[in-house]
Symmetry: C2
Subunit: 196 residues, 2 copies
């Protein structure tokens, strides 16, 4: 997705060989027009999968997931990282380790909103070591539903997450694939013109 790659080049800050900061348009400040384009792009890529729900995890996934859900005409659910007082019903939980934040969270949804028969599209802002995506896949499967796709805004293709998710056989689409952050420079995976 060319607009997104351009934005990463212009505004992304490489903090180390593994950490890319995109706080000006995705993780802290959000560019609503770009989020809408991202939603349209995910909707196109997963159009024929019979998606009935979009699932993400708070907080940075909510923007892309919501605009994907709007475009697809289905509800969006965001998994919680902590239990809330008003989440009183049956919970489905998985454990997720965050690569960036170096901490382990319980990720939780209410069983009210994802049911057997649902075709769930999982959306997240980053794919690094794959823990968040695998946690969400686990939740969908525990709910008896079908994880039909994983849509990622920015994939760090030099880390293990891509392979781990691909090995599940679930369709994986990443809008920007980063081959390397070495020497403070963003290099994208060369996908040829047909997929850029």
């Amino acid at each position: 997705m060319e607009t997104l790659k351009q934005k990463i080049i212009e505004e992304g800050k490489v903090l180390s060989n593994t950490v890319l900061k995109v706080d000006s348009f995705l993780n802290h400040q959000m560019d609503p027009v770009l989020m809408k384009q991202i939603g349209e792009e995910f909707a196109n890529r997963f159009r024929d999968m019979g998606v009935t729900k979009v699932l993400t995890v708070e907080s940075s996934g909510i923007g892309p997931a919501l605009l994907t859900a709007l475009e697809m005409g289905v509800p969006m659910i965001f998994a919680r990282k902590r239990k809330s007082l008003t989440l009183t019903e049956d919970l489905i939980t998985s454990t997720v380790r965050s690569f960036t934040k170096q901490e382990t969270n319980e990720v939780t949804i209410s069983s009210d909103f994802i049911k057997e028969g649902d075709n769930v599209l999982i959306i997240d802002d980053f794919l690094a070591v794959g823990q968040a995506a695998m946690g969400l896949i686990d939740i969908v499967q525990k709910a008896g539903a079908n994880p039909v796709g994983v849509g990622i805004v920015i994939e760090k293709s030099f880390q293990d997450g891509h392979q781990i998710v691909a090995d599940t056989g679930i369709k994986l689409e990443s809008l920007a694939k980063i081959a390397s952050l070495e020497d403070g420079k963003v290099q994208f995976v060369n996908e040829g013109n047909h997929q850029s």
Copy 2:
């Protein structure tokens, strides 16, 4: 906003005299079409305020705030409840006590995204005791910017928040105002037809 009130009546669950659960369309599952209507409504109500940024706090505020920002053609910023490893620059912080979760958080933004001269519209999902809204107003003022409005999806008008925010003189607009949750029933503030 009639659509929102209808949704609250149909799907809201009154957990106590002070707690209303709207997890099926706002706080856990999100209804994207309703979020879009909410964004349009806030954009209309604050159209003439010269808004340059929309500010909310993670996580439930992100949906309404993002779609308001999209409609107004300005960026959205979500304040963080914890410090993240990739937020390395100058931070502006305020302390917020959550009524629902009974806990105190540091709420933080990067000083990169709200500057002197910005006219900031604050959006949040609930107004109860007013702590979150006041924390966000505090952050905007610490940044040297101008808080021009506070837009709330659901106001619990029987708690202190409305008065506390109104006393600042900042324009406050709440899309659904709840007069009472007593006896397990949602009663709205009677605003007459012209404001419903």
